[in-house]
């Protein structure tokens, strides 16, 4: 009893002593990010964002940190915590944080924020930078590859939840398939989830059974199941966000890369140069290496097709091809 009491008071005293110490502020620039509920190891865009920050840390000698969110209600307090910690720039990863960032930015007008995948348009606060991607462009390129390489004239698309963001992948992909192979059919299904890998696997198996031989996914964690199904059935899958070839080297044909890391790195670089893109929306596309196809594509895709893809890239950059991102635009394509 007495021992416990002594130990307890000792612990408490320690807390108070350490609590009285004051920490000095570091002089180097500091950038932090708040992940969405996917967490920092999601094999997808949260992880890509963190890789971008790590690269910036190495190249510019800045200090970086991340904070994971466990639930929707964590976004705003996580922003507040990082604001108090004196970071020069705070990232919100994902459009789900749109409201939280705007509300926090309004009551902390002196703090700089940035958000991935969301634009407030004309209402963007002066202390917020938005980074959005033209996801339809890489989807178009992998769609072209799929259209050229399918032997059954049937390919598949698995989406996460039917948000306009995911529809950009869907219609870009369909346009690519259509250009390469007007006879090919695209099977499409949404998993109504970004985490349910089992559902992704079931949907993909079903598509293979209906005769598809290549399936593209834009569905975060659901995609693990898509690639798993390709591996088991010996068919092709096309990855998304990162180069996902490492998940199944013999079955991931190519990946539609969305370089969240490049965007994070780029906006960090501008901040260090004193040119923070506050109040702006920066669009990342093929022109500025914000998107692209995976470097491992040459493993499975014939060189002849890759040359055609390079040609398409040049045409998109020159504005000769405008890739559709919505149903309306696709219908006219």
């Amino acid at each position: 009893m007495k021992k416990i009491r002594v130990a307890l008071s000792a612990v408490l005293t320690l807390f108070f002593i350490t609590g009285l110490l004051v920490v000095g502020q570091a002089a180097t620039m500091k950038i932090a990010m708040v992940t969405d509920v996917g967490g920092v190891n999601d094999q997808s865009f949260n992880q890509s964002a963190w890789e971008g920050l790590k690269r910036a840390e190495k190249d510019f000698g800045i200090k970086v940190a991340y904070k994971e969110s466990k639930q929707d209600a964590d976004y705003a307090p996580n922003m507040e915590t990082l604001t108090d910690a004196g970071y020069d720039l705070i990232w919100g990863i994902g459009f789900l944080m749109g409201d939280a960032i705007k509300e926090t930015a309004e009551i902390n007008p002196d703090q700089k924020y940035a958000i991935i995948d969301f634009s407030y348009g004309d209402e963007t606060p002066q202390n917020v930078a938005c980074a959005v991607f033209q996801e339809e462009e890489p989807s178009f390129l992998v769609g072209y590859i799929a259209g050229k390489m399918t032997k059954s004239n049937k390919v598949g698309f698995v989406g996460g939840i039917k948000f306009p963001l995911i529809e950009k992948f869907e219609y870009g992909f369909m346009a690519g398939v259509k250009l390469a192979n007007p006879d090919a059919e695209v099977l499409r299904q949404y998993a109504e989830s970004f985490t349910d890998a089992a559902k992704g696997k079931a949907i993909t198996n079903n598509m293979y059974q209906q005769g598809a031989d290549i399936v593209f996914h834009a569905s975060g964690g659901v995609g693990d199941g898509v690639i798993e199904a390709a591996k088991e059935k010996g068919k092709w899958a096309i990855g998304v966000d990162k180069d996902q070839n490492f998940l199944a080297p013999d079955n991931v044909l190519t990946s539609a890369m969305k370089r969240v890391d490049n965007a994070i790195y780029d906006i960090g670089k501008r901040l260090i140069a004193g040119e923070f893109a506050g109040g702006e929306t920066v669009v990342y596309n093929l022109k500025n290496d914000g998107v692209g196809i995976a470097p491992t594509s040459d493993k499975h895709v014939p060189a002849k097709i890759l040359i055609e893809v390079d040609d398409l890239v040049a045409k998109i950059k020159a504005g000769e091809i405008v890739v559709p991102a919505t149903k309306e635009a696709f219908d006219k394509f």
């Binding site: 009893m1 416990i4 307890l8 320690l14 807390f15 350490t18 609590g19 932090a32 509920v37 940190a65 991340y66 904070k67 994971e68 466990k70 639930q71 929707d72 209600a73 964590d74 705003a76 307090p77 996580n78 507040e80 915590t81 990082l82 108090d84 910690a85 459009f95 789900l96 749109g98 409201d99 509300e103 309004e106 009551i107 902390n108 007008p109 939840i161 948000f163 306009p164 963001l165 109504e192 989830s193 970004f194 985490t195």
Partner: protein
Amino acid sequence: MSRLSVSLKEKFLNGALSITLMSVLFGFLLGGIIMLLAGFNPLEAYWVIIKGIFSRPKYVSYVIIYSTPLIITGLSVAFALRTGLFNIGAEGQYIMGALAAAAAGYYLKLPMVLHVLAAVGLAVLVAAFWGGLAGWFKARFGVNEVISTIMLNWTALYISNWAITIESFGRQGTGKTYAIQPSAHIDIVGQWKRTPEGIAFLREHPMLWDILKSPVNLGFIFALLLAALVWYILNKTTLGYELRAVGHNPQAAEAGGISVQRSMVVSMLIAGGLAGAAGAFQVLGVSHRIATLAIMEGYGFDGIAVSLIGNNSGPGCVFAGLLFGALKYGGSKIQDVMGAPTEVINIMIGIIIFFVAMPKLIRMILAYRKRREQS
């Protein structure tokens, strides 16, 4: 040692409060050892946590905001447990309550106080129905409430996600609903603090501004009132006496003229209503909208732990909820400051519950066996 101190020692070791306090201490100690093994300095981590909870008024305010829903879902679980029912369904009842409050807050057009009352009332009704359903299944068909409430949790999650896809309710492309109307807010000066005048005024009052940077709202006061209400119903009313009698010994209660089946339904109705109120206060005071749920957010599941640590009593849930809220809010700060994984905090919470539950688990098993032998 004198006899007096021996009896004091016994009292201390056998009391429920001391078991809880010891468990918390063990949790911190073992959590520290795990951090040490993971290569982090536990004293630094605890300092970061303590600083993250107490060093600014805003942090204390956030702890209270984090605690509010946990206290109320804790009350929900505690209430059902007193009648001998294990309400795992607080999660689903919370989701239904939040959904009903978001819908009422958005669609209804009512003056200020009335709008809040209507939204909370509707949320409580819907969630009470959701909880009562499980109670009725048990009373009428003998379906174990653990199984039916788990099923109802998932049903609630999918109903909520479906509702967000309705065009007039969900804001397309955001995965969230439209924000509720200001007349349904329970925030304290939530609108004013965003206006230019508000910001200008608050800049001159840094202390006040700091607190108001968190979504300060009336939820915590309601939580305290509900805790008092639960204590009152259970301990001071005939209904509470009946419910507790059923919890202690259903056969004896039946013989004493208490309807066991009716008690089960009533208990789950009230438990469901409580969890629904938690969801309503969260929507009206903090989030102002609901979002597509990729996973269960855990407000109801945390309520089970809060109830256990709080010894299934009204006041106990308030303190356990505050502890939980503080650990959840302050604990997450070791991530950005030290780069330590927040999982350590979850392990710590787990250890605390483990130790709290152990003596109780044994007591529960003994009580269960006794009941079996009697029947």
